[in-house]
Point group: C2
Chain length 473, copies 2
């Protein structure tokens, strides 16, 4: 035990839906997930997280129903498995008004919003929150998501990442290059802004054509804090290039260590400083004040955990229907056409010999579980930290109970060890708080967004006017 | 004076920008428009409006810079003329958390958000606000707006309305037809929802292809309360068919009377009950406790009003560059190519003989002005009401001063006459409150949205599953 430990960054991993990750949790007598449409569920929780000095409230998202389970999507509806899925931007914006320090991060896919619109919305929210916005960049793996936005099928994996490259490129230009940071004068006796410092971006790419200027002045962070959670090779290269924090589900700390090593190498390839990308692990912490209480809570967890929902989540996410099979089916019983590699890895990860589907689901749900007394939870989190984990994104089984238990049960011990902060640092923005620094809140100079600063002054309002008047004369 | 008067509906017409309509107002010493990026400007105002029992806080929007003035867009930037233009959905969502009764309405154009995304965001917000959301449907008249979203030029006027017809059609299907209102069971001992009552929409139109299901359960209002402000023939037909309230700028009550008569005829053509569409007039109320105070405030108004900004707003909106001309130029001096009709109407509306551009701007700014003591303001508003005005949307010159003055100065007298409410009615939703009724909050049965109720049950999750399993067997 060491008081000199660096703290773990701390996020609450949420979704505005009845059932996020740990299927069946909503059926627990204390669970309030069914109130997901009610603002007070979220404002009360956000205020509680802020009192506890959490770094972020992180809202996951999907924009379609999961792939088939047992021949269709009926079972997803019965279980509320990420359907409904309410809009996280709207919820994060509402939470802006009841919080002051808490970071508000959320997922948004390139399929769902045009980058001009999206960049504008994030800049607006970054202003309203004084620089507390984070964006988790995703490309949507669900076919239905693509079919909700005009496609006839799922866009191919690598094409989605090319699309995402262009998407963030547009957004970076708007965030970093359209308005010079000293463009606004706000002079009641003079001008609102200097037209020589407000620039169109004149972007013409493969998918997008965007004139500009950005409709929002530079916000406290400029580019919002960037999360990305790619797990494929292409996805991890994207994360190494663009993310300021990456987020993964790891079955054990050794897995994190392996991922971190690979990430550091990819960072170098992308020309970024080693350690630029912080690593968050998604964990479900179950804490009890005694071993007996832990044991009772574990029994409850097992009682309410819906293994078939976990299976539906896994299969629906990778596009392989694992429903309609008995829970004791093994890999040999599954139709693996087109997804053999993914499925083999899934089953092979389970330590016991010839695992069943139920074992895979249990391993998934249990792998994210850190259960124990405050001391043993802290010991375990130290192991995750030693493996290279910078932060944890806390998954919930019960809302708000999982977080209340963590705050009351685990946080005091984590603070004693230096693993958690008791109050927010001095940095004004989310970026500074997550870096435990005080700076200007801007994205690092070696990040690809930064190269657009000052790049468009030839397209300023003043330059454009002169040009037009020239043509006219 | 009659205590039996029906009340006027009351909205605050705002925009998250330095300079909305009455150009130059932001330069007034008391004006706080320059704080437009700060959340507290808006939360304080929203709470104040709610205390005063305003019906709505209405956020206007543009998604591009106005058309050229004096050869470009530099003067718009200097004046903050609707640039920057922050996102109203984000602001309305933030205001949801600090209000309980106030309606939150905002403009969103068909160009800026895909209808699947937009419908989801509005449903989410309608849940979080317990049914207080209004949408002002627009098609974007600004060329730059279209160029920000991939177009190479402004989409033609009537094509924009066809686009809007398809857009609302998609949204209506999602709001009214995708989830049956009794689909959600929320049964901890059973299912979250009944898959036989959750339906895809399978939409394939000219512009959009949307699979569904809607990702949000039916919200308190289902379809949010619909505003529309079309002023062209095509626009007014669209309003008569789709709007529950329309919004116009009228230079005098007689203009309202003419518009209302025409609207009632169009309502009948669209198959809707006479009087379905409420009429809001945009007015700038300037109230003083004495004639001397009114006179002093009028002098200030004249002092800070920026006539050239009004000209830029008019010309930039219709796509005719009226800049670079002296303020005493007349119609004969203006290059009217391609916009003769609009320009002739603009100048012809001004009562004096051969008006100058300054006269046009002054007439525009003055036509929206109701100035006087509380008694004379109330008398004047009675004239607007007698002409068929159902509500007023209050334009501001100073934020929040214009509204504080109105609340403190004008409201007591309006309440004495029955022209304004002192507290909110019993209806739970914005739709009920604006109708002064208590009902189910749903859109009227003769509105085109209503015909999609129950229309997609053949595409329910349960039906789709059976079909797929059939194919499989």
């Amino acid at each position: 035990m060491s008081a000199a430990r660096k703290r773990l960054l701390l996020g609450a991993f949420l979704m505005n839906t009845p059932s996020h990750i740990l299927g069946g949790g909503w059926r627990h007598p204390d669970a309030q997930q069914l109130r997901y449409n009610e603002l007070s569920l979220w404002t009360d929780l956000a205020k509680r997280l802020e009192e506890a000095a959490f770094d972020t409230l992180f809202l996951a998202d999907v924009v379609g129903v999961y792939g088939d389970h047992d021949g269709g999507w009926a079972s997803h509806v019965r279980r509320g498995l990420q359907v409904p899925s309410n809009d996280p931007l709207v919820l994060a914006s509402a939470l802006a008004a009841v919080t002051d320090k808490l970071g508000l991060a959320f997922t948004s896919s390139v399929v769902q919003a045009h980058p001009f619109q999206f960049a504008r919305q994030l800049s607006t929210l970054d202003h309203l929150t004084n620089g507390r916005v984070g964006w988790n960049i995703v490309t949507s793996v669900l076919e239905n998501a693509h079919r909700n936005f005009g496609a006839t099928s799922l866009v191919a994996h690598d094409d989605r990442y090319e699309w995402a490259e262009e998407y963030v490129d547009v957004a970076y230009r708007l965030w970093e290059g359209s308005w010079d940071r000293d463009a606004v004068l706000a002079d009641k006796a003079g001008d609102f802004a200097d037209p020589a410092k407000v620039n169109k971006i004149g972007f013409e790419g493969h998918t997008y054509k965007v004139d500009g200027p950005h409709l929002v002045t530079p916000s406290p962070q400029g580019t919002p804090y960037l999360f990305q959670a790619g797990s494929s090779d292409r996805g991890r290269r994207f994360a190494a290039k663009h993310a300021e924090a990456t987020f993964l589900f790891a079955p054990h700390p050794e897995y994190v260590a392996k991922q971190v090593a690979s990430l550091r190498a990819l960072e170098a390839e992308a020309g970024r400083t080693r350690g630029s990308v912080k690593v968050f692990a998604g964990l479900h912490v179950l804490v009890g004040s005694t071993e007996a209480e832990v044991s009772r809570k574990l029994d409850e967890f097992e009682e309410y955990l819906d293994l078939d929902a976990i299976v539906a989540h896994i299969g629906g996410g990778i596009g392989v229907d694992l429903g309609g099979l008995p829970l004791d089916a093994t890999l040999a019983d599954v139709e693996t056409e087109g997804a053999r590699g993914v499925l083999e890895a899934l089953f092979a990860a389970v330590p016991n010999g010839n695992p069943t589907i139920a074992d895979v689901a249990r391993y998934r749900a249990r792998g994210q579980l850190v259960a124990g007394t405050p001391e043993s939870v802290a010991d375990e989190l130290e192991r995750w930290q030693d493996a290279g984990t910078d932060g944890i994104n806390l998954i919930n089984f019960r809302l708000p109970g999982t977080y209340i238990d963590f705050i009351e049960g685990a946080l005091p011990e984590l603070r004693r060890r230096g693993l958690a902060q008791s109050s927010y640092g001095e940095g004004a923005t989310l970026r500074e708080r997550l870096g435990d620094t005080v700076g200007d809140g801007q994205i690092a100079a070696d990040h690809p967004a930064a190269r657009h600063r000052g790049a468009f002054s030839h397209l300023s309002a003043a330059a454009t006017n002169l040009q037009k008047q020239g043509h006219r004369a």
